[in-house]
Symmetry: none
Subunit: 219 residues, 2 copies
C-alpha cells in the first residue's frame, strides 16, 4: 500500500514513516502542501496522512480541494488541534479518520489497517507505455492486453526504470537498487535481468547505451 505522509514536524515525520514502513507499507514523506500536490499528481496513493498546520497553508483547504476534484483517496488527519470543531470540520471536509497528537504509533497502525480494509477495492491507476499497461500497485503488466508475469527481481528492475522515465541508469545504480549495497560486483547479473525483461516485455522496452548504462525506451 502506498501512503503519502504530509507532516512538517521533523521528529514526528520520520517516526511515523518508520512505523508504517515497519508494517510493510511504502511511504513518501513531504513537508509542504505544494510538494504533496506534486506527489499526488505524479503517483497514486492508497492513503494520505495529513497534518493540518503546514508552512504553506492549512491542510483542511488541501483536503477540500482534493475532494472538490473528485479524488476519493482515503485521508487520515493527524494534528495537534484537539478541538472538537476541528474534528467535525475535518470529517465534513471528507476526512476518513482523525488522530490527535501526541499520536500513539500502534494506534496509527491500527487505524491505517482499518482504513485500508474499508477502502479496499478502489481501482488502481494504470500507467501506459507503448503496448504495455502497468498497474504498479497491483503489480500487473499487460502486453497487448495479455498479462505478463514478472519475477521479484524483474519487478525491482522494471520499477527502477518506470519511476525515472527517460533517465539514464548505470549498471552500478541498478545494482544498488536491486541489491541494496552488497559491495560485490563481478558478474553480469544486470545484463541478464535486462535480457529477461526484454524477452517478456519487448526488445524496445529498455535501450542500451554502451559504456554508460540503460534507459527506458520511448514508447
Amino acid at each position: 500500500m502506498r501512503i503519502l505522509l504530509i507532516e512538517d514536524d521533523t521528529v514526528l515525520g520520520p517516526a511515523v514513516r518508520d512505523q508504517i514502513t515497519g508494517d510493510g507499507q511504502s511511504v513518501d514523506w513531504v513537508t509542504r502542501l505544494d510538494a504533496a500536490g506534486d506527489a499526488m499528481a505524479a503517483a497514486a496513493y492508497d492513503l494520505v496522512l495529513l497534518d493540518l498546520m503546514l508552512p504553506d497553508g492549512r491542510g483542511i483547504g488541501f483536503l477540500k480541494r482534493l475532494r472538490g476534484r473528485g479524488d476519493v483517496t482515503p485521508v487520515i488527519i493527524l494534528t495537534a488541534l484537539d478541538q472538537v470543531s476541528d474534528r467535525i470540520e475535518g470529517l465534513n471536509a471528507g476526512a476518513d479518520d482523525y488522530l490527535v497528537k501526541p499520536v500513539d504509533l500502534d494506534e496509527l497502525s491500527a487505524r491505517i489497517g482499518s482504513v485500508a480494509r474499508r477502502y479496499a477495492g478502489n481501482p488502481n491507476p494504470i500507467v501506459s507505455h507503448g503496448a504495455l499497461d502497468i498497474d504498479l500497485a497491483a503489480r500487473t503488466v499487460h502486453r497487448d492486453g495479455r498479462p505478463v508475469q514478472l519475477t521479484a527481481r524483474e519487478w525491482a528492475l522494471f520499477e527502477a526504470f518506470l519511476t525515472r522515465p527517460g533517465q539514464l541508469l548505470s549498471k552500478a545504480q541498478l545494482e544498488g537498487k536491486l541489491y541494496a549495497f552488497e559491495d560485490d560486483i563481478g558478474s553480469n547479473t544486470i545484463e541478464v535481468h535486462v535480457s529477461r525483461l526484454r524477452k517478456k516485455l519487448g526488445p524496445e522496452i529498455i535501450t542500451t547505451e554502451r559504456g554508460l548504462g540503460y534507459r527506458l525506451g520511448t514508447p
Copy 2:
C-alpha cells in the same frame, strides 16, 4: 438506517438516542448485553453503538463474539476508557470506530454519517468467482453449490483477496490485515492459512508469486 444503542448510562443513553433520532435515524436502546443479543437476533441493524462497561459484561467480549459469528455490522465503540490499549483492543476486535466519553453529540453524528456512507449501497452482493459464490455480508461461500465453512482467520484472509481482486498482496500486507499490530510474526502463518484456504476452496483460488506475495487466481 436502524441503529442499536447499547449503553447503561441513564443520562447518556437518552441523550444519544435523541441526537440520532434528530438526524432522522431509527434507534433501539438497550442497557444490557443479553438484551442486545436478543435485539440483534430479532432484527438486522445497520450500525451498533457499543458501550464497553456494562452491567452484565465487557462490550469487547460481545464484539468479539459478534465477529466470531461472522457478523459484519458496523460497530462504533463508545466508552469512558480512554486508554490507548483499549482503543487498540477495540479496533482489533473489529470495531469500525471509537469515541471517548464525554462524547460530543455533533461529532457522534458526523461519525455515524461517515460509517453510514461507508457502508451504503451494497445490499448483500453475491460475488461469483469460478465455482465459488461468495456473500461477503453474510460471510458464506458455496463451492459448486455446496456450502463451505471458513474459520475466522480464513475469512479475514479470503476477504483481503476478494476486496482487491487481481492485486498482488505481500505477506507483510496480509500479516497486517490479519494481525493488525502484533509486531513480530516469526513464522509461516500466512503460508499455512493460504494452504488451508486452497484446500477448502480449490488449489487455483490463490496463486503464489515467489518472493512477492499472493494473488487471487483468475476464475
